[in-house]
Amino acid sequence: MKLSSLACVWFLAANGCGSSPPPPPPAPEVAPATDPPDQIGSDDEADSDLAEHHRHHHHGGIAMFVAMSLDTLGVDDNQLAQIQKIQADIHAQLKPAHDAEKVVLLALADGVAAGMIDQDRTDAAIAELAKTSAAAQDAVADSLDALHQTLTAPQREALVDKLEAHIAVWDETNAGDDKRGGHLEKLATDLALTPDQVEKIRGNFTTSIGKAGKYDRAEVDAQFKQFAEAFGADRFDAHEMKMGGMVSSHMAVWGLTRMSRVYAAAAPVLTPEQRTKAADMLRHHANYKRTDAE
């Protein structure tokens, strides 16, 4: 046997026959779906910052989550300028909704400071936000189309993953039952509420939130699924996404309604010092700056 033949034997053994298709990858090993791996980072600052953002900012709905996803997409240098422009455009198109949300937050701040939320004033501001939030989703359609054209298929896949992740965090923060990271728990920490205060606020909140509209996660999931499938495909037209405005408006209204009910429940129970601090926190969020440069 010649050396060349031996080399061939070695090559085939290591890499498979050159004229045949490569062997399929080994079947995945399946780990039991029991405890999650160590939840590294689950309670670190990046997590709590994100939850704090989603706890107070609902105006942009799914379009806002898309813009936020661009912060960590990992784009090439030759894509960077275009991505930054698209992101800036989306935030600009969401500005009317952002401003409407600011009106709501300032109304809440005034109410908390006074010890009594003006629910009519707050609800009117939320209704205005619903209109602007729905309209904003139509405004961002061209930006979404440009984004689709700019990103590679794997980047689009990553964006869909991130979008789903933002929805999950928003949902856990706003639509959960306050077991972990919810409004009331956060308020209790921030304002050093006594157990008695927490129970009173919880009772008030349970009564008032029962009269508010219901959050429909299935509707949000359906919209996300529609977007994910469309955005992952090679051809995409954001103008064909019919439900975006309605769903984003729904999220904005629900998020702010729930928040307003929490503060309405808390305002009469808080001490003057706690009211001052809570009002300051709301004003801080009302004047939110996305970047240091803003």
């Binding site: 290591a14 405890d35 670190d44």
Partner: protein
């Protein structure tokens, strides 16, 4: 001569072949990296998909299910080496405390995570 060549080739083949296969072996898991982690961490791109370094493994999604590579592909290992330098350039990113001590190397080489303004 023939035997001596085989004595070289066979061990070499055995040594190299598992390495190649190992990189393809994946472990499918019933849980994903936390949503907040996915939302605030930059992925790397490998084999045409985004992958995330989490809990000392590279996670990726395939048809909705999360898996990780049992052995770290060389390309991704090299990418990790660039994180420290890259992270210095991103003022809005913070080093993930959970990854401060890589179990294999005992040094900072986790991905940076984006911090949103409060």
């Amino acid at each position: 001569m023939f035997k001596s060549v085989l004595a070289i080739i066979i061990p070499l083949t055995l040594a190299l072949a598992p390495t190649k296969a190992d990189a393809q072996i994946t472990v499918t898991v019933g849980v994903a990296p936390p949503s907040a982690y996915i939302a605030t961490t930059e992925p790397e791109y490998f084999e045409g998909r985004p992958v995330y370094w989490y809990n000392n493994n590279w996670y990726y999604r395939d048809h909705g299910r999360w898996s990780y590579y049992r052995s770290e592909p060389r390309y991704l290992r090299e990418r990790r080496g660039r994180w420290v330098e890259r992270n210095r350039d991103h003022g809005r990113f913070v080093h993930d405390r959970g990854h401060e001590h890589d179990r294999d190397r005992g040094r900072h080489d986790g991905p940076a995570r984006y911090r949103y303004h409060r």
